[in-house]
Each structure stands twice: as C-alpha cells, then as structure tokens.
Symmetry: C2
Subunit: 220 residues, 2 copies
C-alpha cells in the first residue's frame, strides 16, 4: 500500500512538473514569436517532451493553454491586490486606487525576475481578436478588482458615463501595453525609461491619475 | 504602336487593380483573424485570384505585404497632418499639438466609412514582436510628425527626459489601441463610448493632455 501511494505521488509530481514545463515554455515562445507563429508541437518539443502531442494531452486546445497561462499568473496577482486593497480601505486618494490597479501587476513582474514573458504574452492576448475574451473573462472573476472599481468611484470627479467607461479602458490599455514594451526592452537590452518596475509603476500611476482627472472639454 | 501603348496601360491597370484587391483583402483578413492566422494563399483566394501565389508575386513576403498596407494609409494620414500642422503653426496650446497627433488618424478612419480594418490591423502590427519595427520605420519618415514633436516641446512643462519619453510612448499606445477597440466594437455592433470618431478623438485629446500635464510625483 505504501508502495502504491508513493507510486501515485511520484506520478502526480511528474505530471505537475510536465505541466509546469509546458506552461513556462509556451509563455516564452508566445511572447518571443507571437501567439499564432508557435504550434503546440513546437511547444512540446521545446519543453523537452518526447511526445509531440504533450500539449494537447495536458491542456487541450491552444485557447485552453492560453487560459492556463493566464490563470497561473492571475492567482498571485489577485493575492497582491487583495493585500493592497486592504491597506487602502476607506481611502479617498485617487492615487491609492490607481495604485491598486497597476502595482499588483508590476510587483508580480518584479518578483519573477528578469527576463519575464507574461507582459508581452498578455499584450498579445489582449490584442488578438480570438483570444482577447479569455483575459476579460478571467479578470471578471477577480473580487479585488471590484473593490478597486468601487474605490475609484468614491474619489473620481463626476464624469459622463461614456467618459468614465473610456478612461477605464485607457487605464487598462496603458498598463498592459506599457508593461509589455518595458519587458521587451529589458529582454532585448534596449533603452527603456525608468530603472525598475517600481519606478515604472509610479510613472503609470502619475499618468493614469492625470488622465482620470483631466477636464472633459467636449471640444472638436 | 498605339495598340501596344493601350495594351500596356490596360495591363498596368489590371496589375494595379489586383494589387489593390490584395491589399484590401489582406487588411480585412488580418484585422479579423490575426496576422499569423492568415496565410498568403488564403489572401490570394479571398481576393479572387485564380493563382494562389498572387500575394507572393505582387508583394513578396508577409512583412513586405504588411509594409505595403501601412504605406497605403500613411500617405493620406500624412497629408491630413500636414494641413493640421500648418493651421497650428506658432500655437502654444498643448491641445492643438495633441490634436495634430491624434486627429489625422481618427479623421482618416472616419473618411474610410464603416467598417474599417486598419486600426485593428495596426494594433496587431504594433504588438507583434516580428512586425512592430515596420510601423516604427514607416512613421519615422513622416515630416509632419517631427513638427508635432517640436510643437509639443514648446508647450510642455519641464519634464525629466525619461518621463518625457514614457509619456510619448503612452500617447502612441493609447491612440493605437483605443482606436482598435472602437473599430472592433463598431464592426461587431457592441457598445462603445462616443458616437463618432470625432468625439472619440476629443476624448483621446482630453485624456492625453491630462496625462502629459500630470505632476511627476516620484512616489513609490
């Protein structure tokens, strides 16, 4: 019985290690070469799987694989955001809430060390007509994000609802694409503004706060 | 001799019509299905070319095709921007110069009618690790864009150079990705803030002006 239990554990561990290797390899290949340029077969090979159908066996379709990569990062990001939201409870300083939007993502990237691939992967997922829905669906389930939206609501000026919606989209686009640009520059060794992810997040919080507070002119 | 000349003209016109059909079809397929999902063969077929190698024959590689699509739009956008820059000469109102950045793109999209595909195509090109350089190279050659940067320089507050660079990137990312989101919503019939491209560009000018003028806190 002990032998059997050990055998089971070992197999579960092996499966878990294989899944990890596939997710890490897929994220890197997608970030560097593009979501569509990379096949499941190439990922299986690069992840050191003798069996070229390993990706399909462990994850199903490419959309399922993309979703698994998103979920793997969503969990630590959600934990970071819950901690920040708890610290900001009751705040009416808009910068606090913009920080709760941006910093869980940048702190997560900083904690992963250099190079990271998730920001570039995420920017592609957000821009791809087929995959973008996955990112939206996964973030809808974030309880902390609902608290951030409520916190922002309490300190934003009174904005027409379409401007409100538009500026929310702008904040999201800026976070995703500016972080992807910075990650690419770090990976390629090209110049990028700001020395650290923390400094980069300060730049984003400054700019997004300015954007939220900008007068609505209705000018043509 | 006259017969020969006529024959040549007709052939040149036929080639030009074929190239136009390929560019229009490729842009639409790329926008709707993604840059990598669509093959040159699929474009040839969808453009009504009996010969499946028509794209390769007329344009070369996929990168050459992408560049040809970018150039086809860059010319009318450049003309619009030159007119706006001429009207803004000497202005020290930052909104005028932000307008010169944004409105040539949105007015071009408005002039094309609905649906358009170029904003979604452009957002993918900007995000793709392989193709993004094409967009940058083509815009470097724009004389009017240099004048806009000089105009902005004259009315921006004194910003640290890294913040200056960063906010320039932010303005570009916002223009490209917000226009792509709006174009997608129009094409799919889903709700989007702002009734017209002109209103959407006002929203972008308001927000980007706020972003450029935001205090630099250096806060962590």
């Amino acid at each position: 019985m002990i032998g059997t239990a050990t055998g089971r554990t070992t197999r579960a561990e092996r499966v878990s290690a294989t899944r990890d290797a596939i997710l890490t390899t897929a994220e890197r290949l997608f970030a560097e070469h593009g979501l569509f340029a990379v096949s499941n077969r190439q990922i299986s090979e690069a992840a050191g799987q003798g069996n070229n159908t390993a990706v399909g066996y462990h994850f199903g379709t490419k959309a399922d694989l993309v979703r698994a990569i998103v979920r793997r990062h969503a969990e630590p990001i959600e934990r970071l955001r819950q901690e920040m939201v708890a610290r900001c409870a009751g705040s009416t300083d808009i910068r606090d809430w913009v920080g709760c939007l941006i910093r869980p993502f940048t702190e997560h990237l900083a904690a992963l060390g250099n190079p990271t691939w998730y920001a570039r992967f995420g920017a592609q997922v957000m821009t791809d007509p087929g995959f973008r829905r996955i990112m939206t669906e996964e973030s809808l389930g974030s309880p902390s994000l609902h608290e951030v939206v409520a916190g922002l609501d309490r300190c934003l000026p009174d904005l027409p609802s379409e401007v409100r919606a538009e500026r929310g989209d702008m904040a999201r686009q800026l976070m995703v694409h500016m972080c992807a640009e910075r990650e690419r520059a770090l990976a390629e060794g090209t110049p990028t503004p700001r020395a650290t992810w923390r400094d980069a997040s300060s730049g984003l919080v400054d700019a997004i706060t300015g954007l939220w507070l900008a007068p609505v002119t209705g000018a043509n």
